[in-house]
């Protein structure tokens, strides 16, 4: 059985709630391809897992952030005197108290002030921070800080951002995008032009236009932002933190603290989900500043309300599409314009633009394309990374278009997609060839072939079972007005960081004898955010090193960067790094064996040697030695960086370039039942087929697909952060009014997993986590359109849209 030691009560001076080593192992092999159980699974289900909000330290203080109550305003004055005079308060800091010359941070563009300076640019922007000996004291003291604002006009959409007299969200931009954007309120613009759209347009028998709106989705991870900063004797600080990428945080934190990176130590605390929302910094710098200022450990935990302001969201978008096709059902061309609202700070906007544009046509063969994607600076909440990252918004729109064109041509929507489906060898709009399997038509065939859920499942001898109906236990229908609809969608997502980014990971693997058994220790800085990386790393080590026992070292910055837990990349890249390090360890172990035992058996020199079942064996199966004997007292350790194939930036004018590493594909069939009178939707089933290259842990793969599918369903029918268009203020920052699917909203999700190896990737695997989030949303929308006959060009769909009562 997997075991995980709970953090023991520590001696004074050491924090508790910090993850410890996880040793996994069993009598079985537990290698890749098996559904080994997660070491953290039981603890999470039983409530015993230590999340970052459980961190604790003797004598710690509690930090609190004061956030702006308005979206865009000059700060006339800040008066902290009353807060400072509050008993129990140790420190109050504003922009003027920042210790270093560097006062801004950001993933790519350092445009985000650590604390607001002179003005605030969005509702909920941090203005001041407080440390006190009790969280309630800190909260009340923060409320006593008096900030006088002078309102500025708000920029809320493309029209207000690009108007001739538009207020600039950022004056004096000097980032590397300013040279090629047509307006300073545009963060980044990426055109993609291939072929001759004008000529292709003349060949088209039908031309279909559409305008689509995608609402602002929140990651809604369960563990709010939290962490603990502990000052250290050397003047540095140790930050225990729930994040997606320790080294990216470190790179942004250290300069603001005025510390070299080696004086900022970071350890991953228990992460309660991420979905992109922890790529940007939240409370990291604030906790460190307060800890260094007070000389005491400082813990900050957001509540759910603050969490809605504490991280970036998925970019809302307006998308304008034109598709052309010939009578025989072949696409002639696609033109599109995608306007993403990046909000007040850049965050990941440039990369989201890159994805939205390069994947904007979808998994189809189209030779003639004109694409333009931009991200705006506005005074809306900052938007950045979220599962699917730019590809989600595009997929919602191009799949709606595909249905429209099919309808125009009188073709079955699946048949039309299959006629245009890309395959291995197809050129992307960027000119990049797809050089591994792209079974788009096959995935569609598979979801279509799955058996349909029975009709009228709510009917029983005792009357209607309302749980099976739209509205559920709210008892709104017993079958009246209920119409079934079926819809299909397929999507394409890039895996890994693109556009020339040096996307590497580092793994340290050690092998030694512990308690008479060979044990491998895997140490990476990979953030385990729930994706199951710690399980997969142990599986890889078992497969490569033939040991039963694998210890996963807590993730920290004492080892090289693992890159981000995002972009469906960790099993590929850190998994690849672990495999690579294991191979190097294996070579060293075999070298050790040859030195010790080579003279006694010729196979040491001549045969292909493997490590299996704790032994060195020949490829013919002959056992040469026990690893225990080979290793003796020695420990073999390797730390090595590993990279996937390099990528190139997209040309800023044409968008051409081999920008992506790998693509992943999923298709969905949605079956919905809509109460057409009340506009309520019950998603009955969301069948998915996805190619994963190689399922390293099949159970985890299915879990990822079901989770991504559900998150896609959420933004189809309920999830949306509503921002007041007049004030740019968030109207629903709580789970009372930001709704995410409950189990009653979650349909059965049959999953068909294909394993067509990508020869360029470790074990042939393909990143899994994001693709199902793409096609789920448009499939549900297509099914609702099928049931209602309505056009529905925005998501999420609300009852008003289905009943004409907007």
């Amino acid at each position: 059985m997997p075991s995980h030691k709970l953090p023991a009560a520590s001696a004074q001076g050491q924090p508790t709630g910090v993850p410890t080593r996880i040793t996994q192992g069993s009598g079985t092999r537990g290698g890749i391809g098996e559904s080994t159980l997660r070491p953290d699974g039981t603890l999470k289900v039983t409530g015993e897992f230590a999340y970052s909000s459980d961190l604790w330290h003797e004598d710690m203080l509690w930090g609190q952030i004061l956030r702006s109550t308005v979206a865009h305003a000059e700060i006339v004055s800040i008066d902290t005197s009353e807060a400072l005079a509050t008993p129990g308060v140790y420190a109050v800091m504003t922009y003027d108290d920042l210790p270093a010359d560097v006062k801004h941070y950001g993933l790519e563009i350092q445009d985000t002030p650590v604390l607001a300076h002179g003005k605030v640019r969005h509702h909920g922007e941090p203005v001041a921070i407080v440390a006190a000996d009790h969280p309630e004291t800190a909260r009340r003291a923060a409320a006593k800080i008096k900030v006088e604002y002078r309102d500025l006009p708000v920029v809320t959409d493309e029209a207000s951002a690009l108007a001739p007299d538009a207020v600039l969200v950022h004056e004096n931009r000097d980032d590397h995008h300013i040279g090629h954007v047509p307006h300073p309120n545009i963060v980044h613009r990426q055109p993609i032009v291939r072929g001759d759209v004008a000529a292709a347009r003349r060949r088209a028998d039908v031309i279909v236009e559409g305008e689509y709106t995608f609402g602002m989705q929140d990651q809604a991870f369960l563990g709010p932002e939290s962490g603990l900063a502990v000052p250290e004797e050397d003047g540095g600080v140790h930050l225990y933190i729930a994040t997606q990428w320790l080294h990216s945080d470190l790179r942004q934190i250290a300069p603001v603290l005025g510390l070299p990176e080696d004086k900022v130590r970071m350890t991953l605390a228990g992460v309660g989900g991420a979905f992109g929302g922890r790529e940007d910094l939240s409370m990291q710098i604030h906790a460190c500043l307060l800890a260094l200022r007070t000389g005491k450990p400082v813990k900050i935990v957001y509540n759910r309300f603050e969490s809605f302001f504490g991280h970036v969201h998925r970019h809302p978008a307006k998308l304008f599409y034109e598709h052309g096709a010939t009578r025989d059902g072949k696409l002639t061309h696609v033109k599109c314009r995608i306007v993403l609202d990046g909000g007040a700070y850049a965050s990941a906007s440039p990369a989201v633009v890159g994805n939205a544009s390069s994947l904007g046509v979808g998994p189809y063969v189209v030779d003639d394309v004109e694409i333009e994607a931009i991200a705006l600076y506005t005074n809306n909440p900052p938007c950045g990374a979220m599962r699917g990252f730019g590809a989600v918004q595009a997929c919602f729109a191009y799949e709606a278009q595909m249905d429209k064109v099919a309808k125009e041509l009188g073709l079955d929507p699946v048949e039309f997609r299959q006629r245009n489906a890309m395959e291995q060898g197809t050129l992307m709009p960027t000119g990049q060839p797809v050089d591994s399997p792209a079974p788009v038509a096959e995935l569609l065939r598979r979801v279509k072939a799955m058996p349909m859920p029975p009709e009228r499942q709510w009917e029983s001898s005792e009357g209607a079972d309302v749980r099976q109906l739209p509205g559920g236990l709210s008892n709104t229908t017993h079958g009246e007005g209920v119409v079934r609809g079926v819809g299909y969608a397929v999507g394409i997502k890039n895996v890994g960081f693109s556009e020339g980014f040096d996307d590497y990971s580092t793994a340290r693997v050690r092998m030694e004898v512990v308690g008479g058994e060979p044990v491998a220790t895997v140490h990476t800085a990979m953030a385990e955010v729930g994706q199951g990386g710690v399980t997969v790393h142990a599986q890889i080590a078992r497969t490569e090193l033939g040991v039963a026992q694998v210890t996963i070292h807590p993730a920290n910055t004492q080892v090289g960067s693992a890159g981000s837990t995002s972009a469906s990349r960790q099993t590929y890249v850190t998994g690849g790094a672990v495999r690579n390090a294991c191979e190097l360890v294996r070579e060293k172990v075999l070298e050790l064996g040859r030195r010790r035992f080579g003279p006694y058996h010729p196979a040491w020199a001549t045969a292909e040697l493997l490590l299996e079942g704790g032994k060195v064996v020949t490829d013919g199966g002959e056992v040469l030695a026990d690893l225990v004997d080979v290793l003796g007292d020695e420990a073999v350790e390797v730390e090595e960086e590993w990279r996937h194939r390099p990528t190139e930036p997209f040309d800023l004018r044409t968008g051409q370039g081999n920008g992506h590493v790998q693509y992943s594909f999923a298709a969905h069939r949605a079956v919905v039942e809509v109460d057409t009178e009340l506009g309520l939707v019950k998603v009955v089933e969301l069948a998915c087929a996805q190619d994963v290259g190689k399922a390293l842990n099949p159970l985890s793969v299915v879990g990822q697909i079901q989770g991504g599918t559900t998150q896609g369903l959420g933004v189809a029918v309920m999830e949306e952060i509503v921002v007041d268009p007049k004030t740019a203020k968030v109207k629903n920052p709580s789970f009372t009014d930001y709704l995410i699917p409950t189990i009653l909203d979650t349909p059965t999700i049959p999953v068909d997993v294909l394993e067509l190896a990508d020869e360029h990737a470790p074990y042939g695997l393909r990143g899994v986590g994001e693709a199902p989030t793409l096609s789920s949303t448009p499939a549900v929308l297509a099914a609702i359109r099928d049931a209602t006959g309505l056009e529905l060009n925005r998501t999420p769909v609300r009852p008003e849209h289905l009943t004409g009562t907007v």
Binding site: G471, T476, T742, I743, L744
Partner: protein
């Protein structure tokens, strides 16, 4: 904030008389949210959890006396036959955890138009038993809701129980939310047939500043049923009557646009729910009617 913990009802009344600003708390499913969000910071919080009487209910000949703190989960389990409308409404309250804590007294105390119990209480007919050191009185539910989150309680009064007429005919409750479970009402509708008095009562939630009855709709339907002899002949209600009833229910709404829904949608949805719940209850009444006739 001072925390008062009266051991008995009399102590609670005395404390409330002494501190009229004290906010009573039982399940805490409403009050704690407000306190956690700093929406309110009462000077005194009065914990009623030690007063066992508030968790009791009695089924009488005419009505059920329901203690203010009886949790929704108990109503669903034990009072389905006597209070079918309220049991259905209880089913839609939040999550199982909240239903184990919250009770009707809290809904009445907060008097939010979105409280799930209100439409069922209005439709069934109820009286709120309130008491102070000055004495006890019963407030008819029709007079209880006086404004947005305001009720007819005097500052020194506490809600002790609700007296709800036992169902003498079919009752229904419907609620629209944009999720299939655990959702706050966009709007809600309760309907009760009272064959003994040959009347129909309604209750509308979240579609006006207070929970309201659709009185014009009730009067129209009562007259139509009487005129056509429907109570006796058990005929199907004609679509035109059902539609007129639904339209009048929608017209009884005075909703707003907010983040949960538009005013237009609320009005529309109340109409749909009114028509459906009328159909369900009437079908049920006709079924029972036919069975009665057959047995006679």
């Amino acid at each position: 904030m001072d925390f008062l913990r009266p051991a008995s009802w009399e102590e609670a009344l005395a404390a409330k008389a002494e501190h009229p600003a004290a906010v009573p708390i039982a399940g805490g499913t409403d009050v704690m949210v407000e306190i956690n969000f700093d929406h309110r910071r009462p000077e005194y919080l009065m914990d009623l959890n030690r007063i066992g009487d508030l968790y009791e209910w009695e089924v009488g000949a005419e009505s059920v006396r329901l203690g203010a703190s009886v949790p929704y989960s108990r109503i669903m389990e034990h009072l389905r036959a006597e209070l079918p409308g309220l049991a259905l409404a209880s089913h839609t309250v939040a999550s199982p955890q909240i239903r184990n804590r919250g009770g009707v007294g809290g809904n009445l105390g907060t008097a939010s138009p979105a409280g799930d119990a209100h439409p069922a209480l209005l439709a069934a007919g109820a009286e709120v038993e309130v008491e102070s050191v000055r004495g006890a009185r019963r407030i008819p539910i029709d007079d209880f809701y006086t404004g947005v989150k305001r009720n007819a309680l005097a500052p020194d009064e506490l809600i002790r129980a609700v007296h709800i007429r036992k169902a003498d005919g079919p009752q229904q409750f419907s609620k629209v939310g944009t999720r299939n479970a655990m959702v706050i009402a966009v709007c809600a509708f309760g309907l009760a047939l009272h064959p003994e008095t040959r009347t129909v009562r309604t209750g509308i939630g979240s579609a006006a500043p207070t929970p309201v009855r659709a009185k014009a709709a009730e009067e129209f339907l009562n007259a139509a049923l009487e005129e056509g002899g429907f109570w006796d002949n058990g005929k199907i209600i004609t679509p035109s009557v059902a539609k007129r009833f639904a339209d009048l229910c929608a017209a009884a709404c005075n909703p707003i646009d907010d983040v949960r829904g538009t005013a237009g949608y609320r009005r529309h949805a109340v109409g749909v729910m009114a028509r459906r719940t009328l159909t369900w209850t009437w079908e049920s009444y006709r079924g029972a009617h036919r069975i009665t006739e057959g047995a006679a």
